[in-house]
């Protein structure tokens, strides 16, 4: 019996030791000569990873204290959950890509190490070249804590073939006539659906769950989900009510956008319009349909532009924050920023030109870049974020589900959203 107790005690002790060893593995030695850095990313594109590796190899060659730099792709759908679980498990990466909608959580919690001082002090970095609009989201107490490595405008892709099949003017013609607005897009979409059975306009990645993608519509009505200070819900405002009335009518009355549970992929030729980021242009087939690229249509509040962003931050719970900050300064210097611009529109004013962006987007014409992409980046605003983003996102999603039926009472549903989300603001 006594032996049994000893065995049990030994087992518990062994396990506890293992757990504690795991937990304390995060203790760091900044001066270590064999530093292994790890950056979590959500791309698994082989070309992207090969380019990152080439930048890392060049850095390691000049920095003998760095033994390795690993880029760790995590699935996009669960990216933030996986990242925070790694942090909770004491296995924080040294650097991490951060989604714009979770930026406030990372920036305000102290999860990221301030990097501005290091970037400014790095020779040849040209910190002042970083666009103020691009860095705004990534500052804590006025100091940069993450580098905005991808600033990509939301644009409207148009399938001219479907519009022609439905006897509708092309989007360029609509724009030329001064009718490039959501009402015209909705009308053309209805006509396409009636004539071809294909979908009209699709807000890509919305899928009636990722509601924040609807910002690409409601910004045109001058609406926003909460006040600028994040303290008051504005879902029930007149502007938002009008915007959602438009969306609801488009989905359930005009058949201008596919309803819930119906999928339509623009890049497979299944819809006439889609709102998405320019990087999706790579999905266009070379011998596919005739297409065009336009800025977002104007809403009742006028013309507007939205950019999607992603940042790279140095995790404060990583093992080597100092070494990681040094690598980030190299990774985002002007030369590497130009290199990254192949896929990720840069945050540097000097690189926001047709020459750099044309190399990044070979399927886009110089005219499209000058006319749509560059103005989109320069004037675009980032979608509103908030701390506790996951909880707010889920709460709004659950409340907005009542909107997605044909007989929904739009103002009542939006008031319900505010009732639910107000305690979280």
């Amino acid at each position: 019996m006594r032996s049994a107790k000893w065995l049990t005690a030994a087992g518990l002790l062994t396990t506890a030791t293992l757990v504690l060893t795991g937990c304390s593995a995060a203790s760091s030695d900044e001066q270590a000569s064999d530093v292994d850095l790890r950056m979590t990313v959500w791309t698994s594109n082989e070309d992207h990873l090969a380019m990152f590796d080439s930048i890392a190899d060049a850095y390691i060659a000049d920095h003998p204290e760095i033994a390795s730099i690993t880029f760790d792709p995590l699935p996009f759908a669960d990216y933030t959950t996986t990242l925070t679980t790694q942090v909770a498990g004491g296995k924080s990466p040294d650097l991490a890509w951060i989604l714009e909608n979770t930026a406030p959580d990372f920036v305000d919690s102290g999860a990221l190490v301030p990097i501005q001082e290091t970037l400014e002090a790095t020779e040849g970095y040209e910190y002042d070249d970083l666009s103020d609009a691009a860095t705004k989201l990534w500052k804590s107490d006025g100091s940069l804590v993450a580098y905005p490595f991808s600033t990509s405008p939301l644009v409207m892709f148009v399938n001219n073939d479907l519009l022609a099949e439905a006897g509708q003017p092309t989007a360029a013609e609509l724009r030329g006539e001064g009718n490039w607005d959501w009402e015209s897009v909705s009308a053309a979409s209805s006509a396409v659906n009636a004539a071809t059975g294909k979908a009209g306009f699709v807000i890509r990645d919305f899928d009636y769950t990722s509601w924040d993608n609807l910002a690409s519509i409601w910004d045109g009505w001058g609406a926003q989900p909460w006040s600028d200070d994040g303290a008051t819900c504005e879902f029930a405002s007149d502007e938002m009510t009008d915007a959602f009335t438009f969306i609801h009518d488009a989905a359930f009355e005009a058949s201008a956008m596919p309803g819930p549970g119906t999928t339509a992929d623009f890049f497979a030729g299944e819809s006439a319009f889609t709102v998405t980021q320019i990087s999706r242009a790579s999905l266009l087939a070379e011998d596919g349909f005739s297409w065009d690229l336009l800025p977002l249509p104007a809403g009742p509040a006028g013309e507007y532009s939205i950019v999607g962003q992603a940042g790279i931050g140095v995790m404060s719970q990583g093992e080597n924050p100092e070494a990681a900050t040094g690598f980030l300064a190299y990774f985002s210097n002007p030369e590497n920023s130009a290199l990254l611009a192949q896929w990720f529109p840069p945050a540097r004013n000097s690189q926001l030109n047709a020459e750099t962006l044309a190399a990044a987007n070979p399927v886009l014409s110089a005219e499209q870049i000058d006319d749509v992409v560059v103005p989109g980046i320069l004037t675009g605003v980032v979608r509103q974020g908030h701390t506790d983003s996951a909880k707010i996102s889920q709460t709004v999603r659950a409340s907005l589900d009542a909107m997605w039926t044909a007989d929904a009472d739009v103002p009542a549903v939006l008031q319900g959203v505010c009732d639910a989300v107000d305690p979280l603001l």
Partner: protein, 316 residues
């Protein structure tokens, strides 16, 4: 004589203050050591993966853990108090109850019906048994994703309904049908397992009993209710326990098909726990929810075990 020399030598060394001789283990000690060695992997596994996590869950439930901010604060029973004031707990428990009741009822009834139908000797019967069992060995996520496509508004099920002139609902986007869809997916995933268990039980029912009852004038219904059901009652209890405990752990189907929606109509306890702990980073409250789930499963299992004497024919 030669063999005793080393022993004498050891004793001599011991007397002269040299190295103490190693004492041989007795038979019982060797037996016990072997036993401990045999159970050691299991003990270590259970300790590492069950007991320590359980203890940690209780520990975490008394703390608030801000993962990103790296703050771990003792909050006492605050998380438990939150459970009793959380306005979402009632709908979550209702969804959990509806799912469990629906799953257990349909799963057991369909499994028993299938088992009765397939409990006969005829050509190709093994083929049909295999067909009904095959979903059990299919990857759960793959199974659920395929059903997700079928349940879309313009998916296969509504397409079939349209053929016969019925306009199907938007299955996964409307409250009642979303829960029905999730139950259907889970019922057909696991009904084959219970069917096989029932089949084995039915084949264990002594033929002479049914023959005797038939000779006494019992009809098919009476045979089934008075002979078959009592004799397979241990299997019914077993499948009931397995299914209801399994129903409380449903996660992948909800995550893939509905993400708890529409609204929170399909947010069952495990999915709510996942949301709180892993999506919202509320590990303390998530731990409380996992303790609640543990207690519910424990109570159900103990209650069913205690009630087996009433339910199960063989028990005294």
């Amino acid at each position: 004589m030669a063999s005793s020399t080393p022993v004498l030598s050891d004793r001599a060394r011991a007397r002269s203050g040299g190295t103490r001789p190693r004492r041989a283990l007795t038979y019982r000690q060797r037996d016990a050591a072997a036993g401990y060695l045999f159970v050691a992997p299991q003990v270590l596994g259970v300790t590492a993966f069950v007991l320590v996590p359980l203890a940690l869950v209780v520990y975490f439930s008394l703390h608030e853990w801000n993962v990103l901010g790296n703050k771990f604060t003792y909050v006492g029973v605050e998380n438990f108090e939150r459970f009793f004031t959380d306005p979402q707990i009632v709908p979550v428990m209702q969804a959990t109850g509806v799912f469990s009741i629906g799953l257990v009822f349909f799963n057991l009834v369909i499994a028993l019906l299938l088992a009765v139908m397939l409990n006969r000797s005829m050509a190709g019967i093994t083929f049909f048994r295999t067909i009904f069992f095959s979903p059990v060995v299919v990857s759960l996520v793959a199974w659920t994703i395929v059903w997700g496509f079928l349940f879309q508004d313009n998916g296969g099920i509504n397409g079939m309904l349209e053929v016969i002139g019925i306009e199907g609902p938007n299955w996964l986007r409307e409250g009642p049908t979303a829960m029905i869809s999730v139950i259907i997916v889970q019922v057909f995933k696991n009904v084959g397992l219970n069917m096989v268990l029932f089949l084995a039980a039915l084949q264990g029912v002594p033929r002479e009993l049914t023959e005797a009852a038939t000779m006494d004038g019992a009809n098919a219904r009476r045979l089934f209710t008075r002979i078959t059901i009592p004799l397979i009652s241990p299997t019914i209890l077993l499948t009931f326990i397995i299914t209801i405990v399994g129903s409380l752990q449903v996660f992948a189907q909800i995550a893939v098909l509905t993400q708890g929606g529409p609204g929170i109509s399909t947010t069952v306890l495990v999915y709510y726990l996942f949301q709180q702990a892993f999506l919202f980073g509320e590990f303390g409250y998530g731990s409380v929810l996992s303790i609640v789930l543990f207690v519910i499963v424990l109570i159900l299992t103990v209650a069913q075990w205690q009630l087996r004497k009433r339910w199960v024919f063989y028990e005294n």
